[in-house]
Subunit: 346 residues, 2 copies
Amino acid sequence: SRSINLAVIPGDGIGQEVVAEGLKVLSAVLPQDVKLETEEYDFGARRYHATGETLTDADLDALKRHDAILLGAIGDPSVPSGVLERGFLLKLRFAFDHHVNLRPSKLLPGVATPLAGEPEIDFVVVREGTEGPYTGNGGTIRKGTEHEVATEVSVNTAFGVERVVRDAFARAQARPRKKLALIHKNNVLTFAGHLWTNIFNQVAEEFPEVTTEYMHVDAATIYLVTQPERFDVIVTDNLFGDIVTDLAAAVSGGIGVAASGNINPAGDFPSMFEPVHGSAPDIAGQGKADPTATVLSVALLLRHLGYEAEAARIDDAVAADLSERTGKPARSTSEIGDALAVRVAG
Amino acid sequence: SRSINLAVIPGDGIGQEVVAEGLKVLSAVLPQDVKLETEEYDFGARRYHATGETLTDADLDALKRHDAILLGAIGDPSVPSGVLERGFLLKLRFAFDHHVNLRPSKLLPGVATPLAGEPEIDFVVVREGTEGPYTGNGGTIRKGTEHEVATEVSVNTAFGVERVVRDAFARAQARPRKKLALIHKNNVLTFAGHLWTNIFNQVAEEFPEVTTEYMHVDAATIYLVTQPERFDVIVTDNLFGDIVTDLAAAVSGGIGVAASGNINPAGDFPSMFEPVHGSAPDIAGQGKADPTATVLSVALLLRHLGYEAEAARIDDAVAADLSERTGKPARSTSEIGDALAVRVAG
Ligand SMILES: CC(C)[C@H](C(=O)O)[C@@H](O)C(=O)O
Ligand SMILES: CC(C)[C@H](C(=O)O)[C@@H](O)C(=O)O
């Protein structure tokens, strides 16, 4: 009989609330014969304040034994900027080699967008997750003086770039439109830019059916608001991916519905799924958070583990739920979760 | 009697066409007693193909003798990516210490925006122009092999950050709303991020009337499309500034109307003014390019040289011209230039 052994990290702020709904929908969608085991981990601001720890080797060993990880949100204003980001979120992505950071953007019927007209938005960003300016490479000299110099080093390897570029080509090949855009800034960041561009062009030869284009990151932000229908699959580096996926989320319904997966495609380590939004401490504990992004992240998780039919049921339930929202009074976090659980079960 | 000794760099593609209109409007707006001298320089793709040169020491010496520089656009698909960008555009910004890259965004009445509703957009970005990931620092080893490693080093100095932060605070202080936002990614790029954030907070103490906020660059892209009215002055690093100003241009009427100044506030070197758009080779030579961004760059140039009344006349002429465009047939590059020249003279 089948089973899913899931690590659950509710985290800070609204993380607790949205993860509860994600699990509710997960339980409702799974067939009877699939045994769901969950283990909850207390990471984030509370643990940091209590122990000074963010993510220890023992924590990593424990997390490693799960099939996948569901995360709510990590981060709190009481913790200095960077401590939990570098000490937990990025540490985990790097430790578990989550090199494919997958972020779909689909504007569903009935969902509001800040863009005029009725743009058709349905693309997915493959963001590199373990290199680029995110390596923590760099340093500071003469800190706090008028002679301070601070550096950040973007590290890019052929190995690291090729594997996400290949992943992106494979995803583009599997989609009806078969289009792939590389986003970089190869006219200024010429060292990293040439590495990305050369590998992209090389791998392209193995995928003759995929239509490719290259775009500078600055120009990409323009297209994302003027011609978002232009995009099918996007592949890009860690920092550019961070920026364009927030913009992509904004134009395709907001971060309330933006899901993401931090994926280790080879399965050497468990992959992690999380909403793109943060812990939103301003609305935490009030039942106001929209759990949809977490529920959609559960769909990505299921798809990653091979439960395609169940993932599709969640996607359909979310689409149906969103299409009926206009004009109705706002529901609480758990009301939305309940409604989605009913839909996926039905 | 007064005089302006201007270096003119039409450059590639539509650069030639739009600069001609910029000069037309400049001549029309200047009072009789101001002597305008212009010297044209042939930089860009043509010169590069003919001589292999992009910008020599002798060129820099010649340019240095002018009061200011007006640039159209540099770049052509026949030249490998990066050659003209690094060899001309960035070389000039660095050589002339253009550390304040000023990019206003104002959505004028009658101008189309991709955003729904009727957002009020009127802010200015102060982008650092001589540091960050633009220094060309970095390198490649094992190029072209599967073991290639390419790095890009973002270099940030207290000296370099403080001067643009001060410039931005002074601009915020002089505007009615007196708001300043720092955009960075200090939760990930912690070395550079802390330098920027600390200096920003220190300088803030000298400007108690200015309301400040900090925003991660990813979140900033969301606000730029959902709440652009939130912004008054933005200060940010070279790369983040490149990205957010293209997005800002897109939401506030498109790059057809986005002007910029590469400013050396101390006046040690001539400042350079240019439209944000590129050379657009696809429409070059057809009289289709909108010269408005160049004309608005001429206004920035005049303001920089102390001709405030003339700059304001150009701004007003552009606003009037734009407000009357809806529903009218498209005009050619020179027709728009003629119309603006008539307005500023009248
Ligand atoms: C919180 C932060 C470290 C993170 C990132 O920059 O990757 C977030 O913005 C994201 O996009 O997941
Ligand atoms: C052409 C390029 C070097 C330049 C930049 O990145 O600064 C351009 O995008 C700009 O914004 O002026």
